[in-house]
């Protein structure tokens, strides 16, 4: 018989894993996924308590959280994309500009690799190439 503590334990494990991941990883996308995992742990708690008490409040809260998480995902991924375009890196440690005045930047002794060589992915062109007249380019 699966009882309330089982749910709660699974929720807590999810939350804990997410938390540890969030604090230990520096890749923004991984951090984001960890945060999502923490959210799911919480959602599980809501659902478990909702079932335990026998009413729909938990499920409603879960729906809300899922909606919010979706919005957050859209927003966060868009921001990561913008950040990546500017620094060619997904390292959260690269972004320290919001620190207090006159506080030296923390120097990263082991930075994540940046992909300066690697351009944004480009779709392979399909179909025939347009035929261009070879013209002298005048400077």
């Amino acid at each position: 018989m699966i009882s309330l503590p089982h749910f709660l334990i699974v929720g807590a494990v999810l939350f804990g894993l997410g938390l540890v991941g969030f604090l230990t990883r520096r890749n923004l996308i991984t951090m984001f996924l960890c945060a999502e995992m923490m959210l799911q742990g919480v959602v599980l708690n809501f659902l478990a308590f909702g079932k335990y008490h026998g009413h729909l409040g938990g499920q409603i809260a879960a729906l809300f959280i899922i909606t919010v998480a979706a919005c957050e995902a859209g927003l966060a991924l868009a921001m990561f994309l913008a950040i990546y375009r500017r620094t060619k890196s997904l390292d959260s440690g690269v972004w320290q500009e919001l620190r207090e005045d006159r506080i030296p930047a923390t120097v990263d002794t082991d930075p994540l690799p940046t992909f300066l060589e690697d351009p944004d992915p480009v779709l392979t062109p399909a179909g025939a190439r347009p035929i261009r007249a070879e013209e002298e380019v005048r400077v």
Binding site: Q96, R99, E100, T106
Partner: protein, 663 residues
């Protein structure tokens, strides 16, 4: 022009200098500065013509008192107080209007030549026109607020003109001194005006206010206080003791400015104010005695100081202070004698003084022009041959100032002495005081003749000496400078005789000023002063004889001592007196030690206290700063670090919750 209402003429005369000032300023910005004198001269001359027309029109009016006032625009209104822009022309203001514009015209013509080629030419003429405008506003105002506007305008323009050579530290200091010292008096005057509003039932027009005050006798001595405060303003503006110190320093401005300040536009304002407020001062006999005594002591002190000055312009400056003292002596007699008589004597002297003092200043300007801006009488002498026109006109001015019989100054000074004598003989409460004033006045008249002719002899007699600064081409000034001198000299010689002694035209005309008629009535009413009924000046042979004798004695003494011209010899036994006089009785030093120094000490102490509190406040302010500095490194911009912070915070909260629930 003849069909103009006098009040409209006054408005036109008022507007012309203002327009000229603006046009001159615009010419200056349009790089046409060298033509800036034209609008000013034309405007002054036109204003003088308009003023003369208005005066004729006014004197043609019938009635015991004559005046004309313009339609008034409301300036502001507060409760029962309503202030309007209103202009009124009565004989008193008409005389002032004509004097200011007429003398101003010739000073402007003189300046055009004197200031030629100066880089601030347009600025000079613009401010000069504004100066005259402010003075005209002052004399035509029909209520105290408009008067104060003119009064302050005059103060501002004098500041600007005295400090005309603003790059020169002495000029800047003199301008500041003039402004601040007159401001001391102005404070009193403003307070006096506030008090008068209250006493005058919040009526603002002069005659209405005077009437209200006359019909509602005050019982608490407030009127005396108000009159005293008004007199403070006059003391500041008209350079009386103890605030006369700014006027001699005002010599730092260009010489025609001195002529303007001394003859027409500034120092006469105080005399005008007291003349205008005669109905009030009649009701305050205590103040009247103070006015006379201050006037007398100023006249004597200034004459004493003028006696040994080496700077020609300073001699003239002190003589102005002294002559203004004479005017105040006369003003102070109103009440014991018919107020109209007292005011006539003062204003008549003001009128003749305007001519000969403008003449003397312009003459000294002419000398200065020829001598390469040297004005120290020790450095030149014997200029009789070099500058014949200047010499003769200066002689005319000196003789008029000294009170040589039949010249302008003689008639007006005589009237003043006569009114003081009558006040002393009136048997009023303070008659004894006036007797002393009379003796001081007589002595001062002698001193006046002495110092004036000392300056004259030192400058024009003896062997010819010209300073090096003139570069060997000392010459008579151009016609544009000598013509104003000649015109003013004619005025200085003849104007007094022309308008008063035979026809009494001046006193009759002035006596019809509504304020003076009212003052006479107040003084005649029971409880007012006690004076013989006659309200017309009469020629007193004894006074005239004594004053002429004293004046001629002064001239003779000056001739005996200085007839050979320079270099100056100090009469034996008078070295101490001369040293005192030359050092201005150490008044500036005393003022510095008694007023400026303590004020500076106070300011220093205040600054120290201020800094103490500033340190205290900074100390309190630094506490949060330190805390901030301590915790600032936490804001390092690393997301993980913040996340860790949150987790730790969560841990603490959880720990507390768990501990509390298990206990």
């Amino acid at each position: 022009m003849s069909d103009l209402d006098p009040a409209e003429s006054a408005l036109i005369a008022l507007g012309l200098p203002l327009i000229a000032s603006i046009v001159a300023a615009l010419l200056g910005t349009a790089k046409l500065g060298k033509y800036a004198h034209w609008p000013v001269i034309v405007a002054f001359a036109a204003a003088a013509a308009v003023a003369a027309g208005a005066m004729l029109k006014l004197s043609g009016m019938t009635g015991e008192s004559i005046s004309a006032s313009s339609a008034s625009l409301t300036w502001f209104q507060a409760g029962s107080l309503s202030v309007t822009y209103s202009i009124a022309l009565d004989p008193l203001s008409a005389i002032m209007l004509l004097t200011v514009t007429f003398v101003g015209t010739f000073i402007a013509i003189f300046s055009a030549s004197y200031m030629h080629g100066d880089e601030g030419f347009a600025r000079y003429f613009s401010i000069m026109a504004l100066f005259v405008f402010a003075m005209l506003l002052l004399v035509t105002a029909d209520n105290f607020l408009v008067l104060v506007a003119g009064w302050e305008g005059v103060g501002l323009c004098s500041y600007l003109l005295v400090g005309y050579y603003h790059a020169k530290p002495a000029a800047a200091a003199a301008a500041r001194k003039a402004f601040l010292v007159t401001r001391l008096g102005d404070v009193g005057m403003i307070l006096g005006i506030f008090l008068l509003w209250q006493l005058g039932g919040y009526r603002t027009d002069f005659n209405g206010m005077f009437e209200h005050i006359a019909t509602h006798p005050d019982t608490h001595g407030q009127l005396t206080l108000a009159c005293l405060l008004l007199f403070c303003g006059a003391v500041g503006k008209s350079a009386q003791m103890p605030l006369y110190v700014w006027l001699p320093d005002a010599m730092e401005g260009p010489t025609p400015v001195s002529a303007l300040i001394h003859a027409a536009t500034m120092v006469t304002a105080g005399v005008y104010l007291l003349a205008r407020c005669a109905p009030l001062f009649v009701l305050a006999p205590d103040v009247q005695l103070i006015v006379s005594v201050i006037g007398g002591s100023t006249a004597f002190l200034a004459a004493f100081l003028a006696m040994a000055q080496n700077d020609l312009k300073r001699v003239l400056a002190y003589s102005t202070v002294s002559q203004l003292g004479f005017m105040f002596m006369a003003l102070g007699t109103g009440g014991l004698i018919a107020p109209s008589l007292a005011v006539t004597a003062a204003v008549f002297h003001l009128f003749t003084h305007a001519f000969f003092k403008a003449l003397l200043f312009l003459g000294s300007g002419s000398v200065m022009h020829a001598m390469g801006n040297v004005i120290d009488m020790r450095k030149f002498g014997g200029l009789r041959k070099v500058m014949p026109t200047t010499h003769l006109t200066f002689l005319a001015g000196s003789a008029a100032l000294a009170g040589v019989p039949l010249l302008s100054g003689f008639w007006s000074k005589d009237q003043i002495l006569d009114s003081i004598l009558e006040a002393a003989a009136s048997g009023g409460t303070y008659a004894g005081g006036y007797l002393i004033v009379l003796m001081v006045a007589m002595g001062t008249a002698g001193l006046t003749a002495f110092y004036t002719f000392r300056a004259y002899f030192l400058t024009f007699w003896g062997t010819e000496r010209v300073p090096e600064e003139a570069h060997g081409h000392a010459h008579e000034s151009p016609a544009m400078m000598t013509i104003p001198l000649i015109v003013l000299a004619v005025g200085a010689v003849a104007i007094g005789f022309a308008v008063e002694p035979l026809t009494h035209a001046f006193s009759d005309f002035l006596g019809r000023t509504p304020a003076l008629v009212m003052a006479n009535e107040i003084a005649k009413a029971p409880g007012g002063g006690h004076f013989d009924a006659h309200e017309h000046p009469h020629f007193n042979w004894a006074v005239a004889g004594i004053s002429s004798a004293v004046a001629l004695l002064g001239v003779f003494l000056a001739f005996r001592v200085y007839g050979n011209g320079g270099p100056e010899q100090v009469p034996d036994g008078l070295h101490g007196v001369y040293t005192l006089s030359r050092n201005k009785l150490y008044v500036d030093e005393i003022y510095y030690a008694a007023i400026v120094k303590p004020a500076e000490l106070l300011a220093t102490a205040g600054r120290q206290i201020d800094q103490f509190f500033a340190v205290l406040v900074r100390l309190v302010g630094s506490v949060p700063e330190f805390i901030g500095a301590a915790v600032r490194p936490m804001q390092n911009g690393l997301v993980q670090f913040y996340g860790l912070g949150m987790v730790l915070g969560l841990g603490v909260v959880l720990a507390v919750v768990i501990l509390r629930s298990t206990r």
